[in-house]
């Protein structure tokens, strides 16, 4: 072993650059493997385990219909499930237990130490929001408050991304424990400590934590915790802890299902939940346990059918849905990181290949070269040979530029192959940027056709490059160097196996790189804010900025007072599936939209409008007028393919508006005002 390490060290000292690159490449490759395998696959595998345990002693959960509870921007409450649903379920003989949950977000839950005297906690219930606490939060609590988990990153509206510090860590910030009001007689999950909530409302407020939440706030049974909500602060005593499935070994990281029961929970009685939130209980999740022998799948199908038929906006979730939910959010956030990493690695690989090949070529042949010198080749001739090899390897030669002499049949074939190769290479960018196609097929076509054609293209190009080296480049160089062209030709040809190998390797690396760039940019394009966007967007969660405080914001140093436009941002669910999200969800196809309310005159009007949008259809004046009439809204042409699905004057948000106190019956896209994110 010592001999080996010595040899390795000696080699390292001799070729520091190569060794450094080799090590880097190896480390990078190892990292990728670990990252992909453990970070992705392992986590996906965990989803299975998590999804199976997620519902605890229940088999199914009933949630409000749709992928997300519409607790949108700064809206604390979710759309409730009608209480009739609970009654209907209770009447089903297949059902063993029905436990409705009243879930609401908390702003903060902290341990405040050992319990205090019973009377003391009542004092803490404050009416109305505490004004001192308003303003951009220091962390992701505004979004994390959603029952059961983080927001799906792919759907994050642009405002959240731009809201300075609060947006950055959001997609993966661990949610605050969710307040869960429940009347369940038995713990939903295995008790690990203490006891479950007593059914009778106690004089002393008590709660049960999920183990993840307990770990997060470092609380134990018997501890007193402080809950901060929209309404104020409240103290209660922890009487028990349940073991609940969490991802990543309980660590506050990773995706969570976007609907269903909270995984990170503070259980209290329903009465206490009402007291804390100051609102009448609204059921937003129902845990359902089935009697033994009942098939969960057929039960789910039957009830989903019934909900649809009877017009309840509710759906039955099973562990499979939970897993699917998590995977969707998870993969979307990784795409960009992956493309960065892959780009870096392919660059590194290319560099590594060039350097080692050159290095090895010279190294292996150092004796040869010395001998060639002894036999009578001048320094220039030897140097030229190495240079030619390097040129051939890196392919920055004038080879391709030279017109091939189509003298032989073989050359003609090779030329045809090369032309075909060039065409195939061009297919990929054309596919991505030029050819219009349907969303459903786009990804598949790109992966199957674009990448394959590029790889094949590069390979097809290689033989001609090599032939040209021998046929054209060698004689040319021979003339220049006054060297016999047969000598040079054979020298070049003799090292061709290496050249070919390198060419193929490099081509693949290069192809990967080009593909990555093409793909990456085409994907990022619609998300890059254009010139129209304001310099800063500030998010005010929890009820937003109170009336009259806009002036305070305008007076903040650095803010141009007259260039400060209040926006009302809402993310409602679309009533109809106009984007085709039910077929398959993608970034461009979602069942919700981000609605931005603003003063049309200030935002769009004037010589220098705040939102300097380009109207791809219609015109500014018409849009302002109709916006003022509050019957129509502009739509972002953020994704032309999406916009193509929305014809002007479509009634997009009719049903959504009916669900929420928003607009009137029917909300139309204003004719001809479709501001576009980026021109071109």
């Amino acid at each position: 072993m010592r001999v080996v390490s010595r040899l390795v060290l000696a080699n390292l000292r001799q070729h520091p650059a190569r060794m450094a690159l080799t090590s880097l490449a190896v480390i990078a490759a190892a990292c990728v493997v670990i990252w992909v395998v453990s970070g992705y696959d392992a986590l996906l595998a965990q989803f299975d385990a998590f999804a199976d345990e997620y519902l605890g002693r229940y088999q199914l959960a009933v949630v409000p219909e749709g992928p997300e509870q519409p607790s949108g921007m700064g809206q604390p409450a979710g759309r409730p499930i009608p209480p009739e649903v609970v009654h209907l379920l209770q009447q089903d003989p297949d059902v063993a237990a029905v436990d409705p949950l009243v879930q609401s977000p908390t702003k903060k839950v902290t341990r405040v130490g050992p319990p205090h005297e019973p009377g003391e906690s009542k004092r803490a219930v404050a009416a109305g929001p505490n004004p001192k606490r308003r303003g951009p939060p220091k962390d992701g609590s505004s979004r994390g408050g959603r029952p059961g988990g983080t927001k799906r990153p792919g759907m994050a509206p642009p405002t959240s991304g731009a809201s300075s510090a609060s947006g950055a860590a959001r997609p993966f910030s661990w949610p605050r424990p969710t307040l869960v009001g429940t009347g369940a007689q038995e713990p939903p999950h295995e008790m690990v400590q203490g006891t479950w909530l007593k059914s009778a409302a106690p004089d002393r407020p008590e709660g049960v934590l999920s183990d993840g939440a307990a770990e997060q706030i470092n609380a134990d049974v018997g501890d007193e915790v402080l809950i901060e909500t929209e309404r104020g602060e409240f103290r209660l005593t922890i009487v028990g802890i349940v073991r609940q499935a969490s991802l990543g070994g309980g660590g506050p990281r990773g995706p969570a299902p976007s609907r269903g029961p909270a995984a990170n929970a503070m259980y209290v009685s329903v009465a206490l939940a009402e007291k804390i939130t100051g609102e009448p209980a609204k059921i937003n999740c129902i845990n359902v346990a089935l009697t033994d022998g009942v098939d969960a799948e057929s039960f789910r199908r039957r009830w989903n059918e019934r909900f649809r038929r009877e017009g309840f906006a509710a759906a039955v979730l099973d562990p499979g849905d939970v897993k699917e939910d998590m995977e969707q959010g998870f993969s979307a956030t990784r795409v960009r990181n992956q493309s960065y990493a892959a780009t870096g690695i392919s660059l590194l690989a290319a560099l590594f290949i060039i350097l080692t090949t050159l290095g090895m070529g010279v190294d292996e042949r150092i004796r040869q070269l010395a001998m060639l010198r002894a036999v009578g080749l001048t320094r220039g001739q030897v140097a030229a040979m190495i240079a030619v090899e390097a040129l051939v390897i890196t392919r920055v030669s004038p080879l391709e530029a030279m017109a091939p002499r189509a003298t032989t049949q073989a050359t003609r074939h090779l030329t045809a192959a090369a032309l075909l190769g060039l065409t195939l290479i061009a297919v990929n960018p054309l596919l991505v940027f030029v050819v219009p196609m349907a969303d459903e097929s786009r990804y598949g076509i790109y992966a199957a056709l674009g990448c394959t054609s590029m790889a094949v293209g590069f390979v097809l190009l290689a033989p001609l490059a090599i032939l040209l080296t021998e046929r054209l480049f060698a004689p040319l160089l021979a003339v220049v160097l006054r060297l016999d062209r047969r000598l040079l030709g054979t020298q070049l040809g003799g090292n061709l196996w290496r050249t070919v190998g390198t060419t193929v390797a490099l081509s693949l690396g290069l192809g990967l790189f080009v593909a990555m760039q093409t793909w990456g940019y085409s994907m990022l394009e619609p998300f890059v804010p254009g010139d129209w966007a304001p310099d800063v967007l500030v998010c005010f969660p929890y009820g937003g900025l109170p009336e009259g405080e806009l002036d305070d914001v305008a007076r903040i140093e650095g803010v141009a007072a007259e260039r400060c436009l209040p926006l009302a941002v809402e993310q409602p669910k679309l009533a109809e599936d106009i984007t085709g999200s039910r077929e398959r969800q993608t970034i461009a196809r979602q069942d919700n939209v981000v609605m931005v309310g603003f003063d049309p005159e200030r935002a769009l009007g004037g010589a220098d409008p705040m939102l300097d949008a380009v109207f791809v259809e219609g015109n500014r004046e018409d849009a302002i007028e109709r916006l003022r009439a509050a019957t129509a809204g502009p739509v972002h042409d953020c994704r032309r393919r999406l916009a193509a699905r929305l014809a002007l004057d479509d009634e997009v948000l009719r049903a959504a508006a009916a669900e929420r106190p928003f607009g009137g019956p029917g909300f139309r896209l204003a004719r001809g005002c479709s501001p576009r994110l980026r021109p071109g």
């Binding site: 001998m371 001048t378 320094r379 020298q491 003799g494």
Partner: protein, 257 residues
């Protein structure tokens, strides 16, 4: 006037060569002088590290001397520009080494033609090439690559390459070093024949008295200096030559006791 007309093919005058490895300075050659006449076959012997290879390299102009002069056919190699020196070597000096003589990617014939291919002014003399190949017994091997040739054949290809430009001087550094005695003796016979029948001048480095016995003169080096010179004709056979050589290089006995 062409200095090569009457000048001896090789004149070495007071040659000094030092190698510096960091702090350490090695005197590889310390004032070596030597004259080799036309048609002479000189064997250079000496212990390992005595400077034999260094002498050959300096003579071939592969490395410059620190002091002294080398005249090949009356031309001072050190005074030439690298390009001219290389061209001169190509045309007037044939080199043969112990190993790694051939380019593995070229065939035997291409290897032989290497010096000619590298030189625009030299043309391939097909008759001469055929003669050489036949004389060295390589007729069936001309399109083989080196890895398909035996060690002896490889060395014969190297000799053919050294001879292909019809040089005045052949410099060979232990050409038999990696051959068995039969192949070694065969190689020596061929070189000896070149001297006798074609008036070729040969300087050959060797450790083996049986190889040196084919030469006309033996030069013994020690510590970078010429220790002794003698004609092989003084000894009847290789054994006698070996005995004499060992007497010379044996460290001087402590005399006063």
């Amino acid at each position: 006037m062409d200095p090569s007309r009457d000048a001896p093919p090789l004149v070495v005058e007071n040659l000094t060569k030092r190698f510096r490895r960091g702090e350490v300075v090695i005197d590889a050659l310390r004032g070596v002088s030597l004259v080799v006449q036309r048609g002479e076959f000189v064997a250079v012997m000496g212990a390992s590290g005595s400077g034999k290879s260094t002498l050959l390299h300096v003579v071939a102009g592969l490395t410059p001397p620190d002091d002294g002069r080398v005249l090949v056919d009356g031309h001072d190699l050190a005074a030439m520009a690298d390009r001219h020196r290389t061209a001169f070597r190509r045309r007037h000096i044939g080199l043969v080494f112990q190993a790694f003589n051939l380019i593995p990617t070229l065939t035997a014939e291409q290897n032989i033609l290497l010096p000619i291919l590298a030189d625009k002014r030299l043309g391939v003399d097909n008759g001469r090439l055929e003669d050489l190949i036949a004389w060295l017994g390589l007729a069936g091997r001309r399109s083989h690559r080196p890895d398909a040739l035996s060690g002896g054949e490889q060395q014969r290809v190297a000799i053919a390459r050294a001879l292909v430009t019809d040089p005045t001087l052949i410099l060979a550094d232990e050409p038999t070093g990696s051959l068995d005695s039969v192949a070694g003796q065969e190689l020596c016979r061929l070189l000896n024949e070149q001297c006798r029948e074609h008036g070729r001048t040969i300087v050959l480095v060797t450790h083996e008295p049986s190889v040196a016995a084919w030469a006309t003169r033996v030069v013994v080096l020690r510590d970078g200096q010429v220790l002794s010179q003698f004609a092989t004709a003084e000894f009847g056979d290789a054994h006698a030559l070996a005995a004499h050589y060992h007497d010379i290089v044996r460290p001087a006995p402590v005399t006063n006791a």
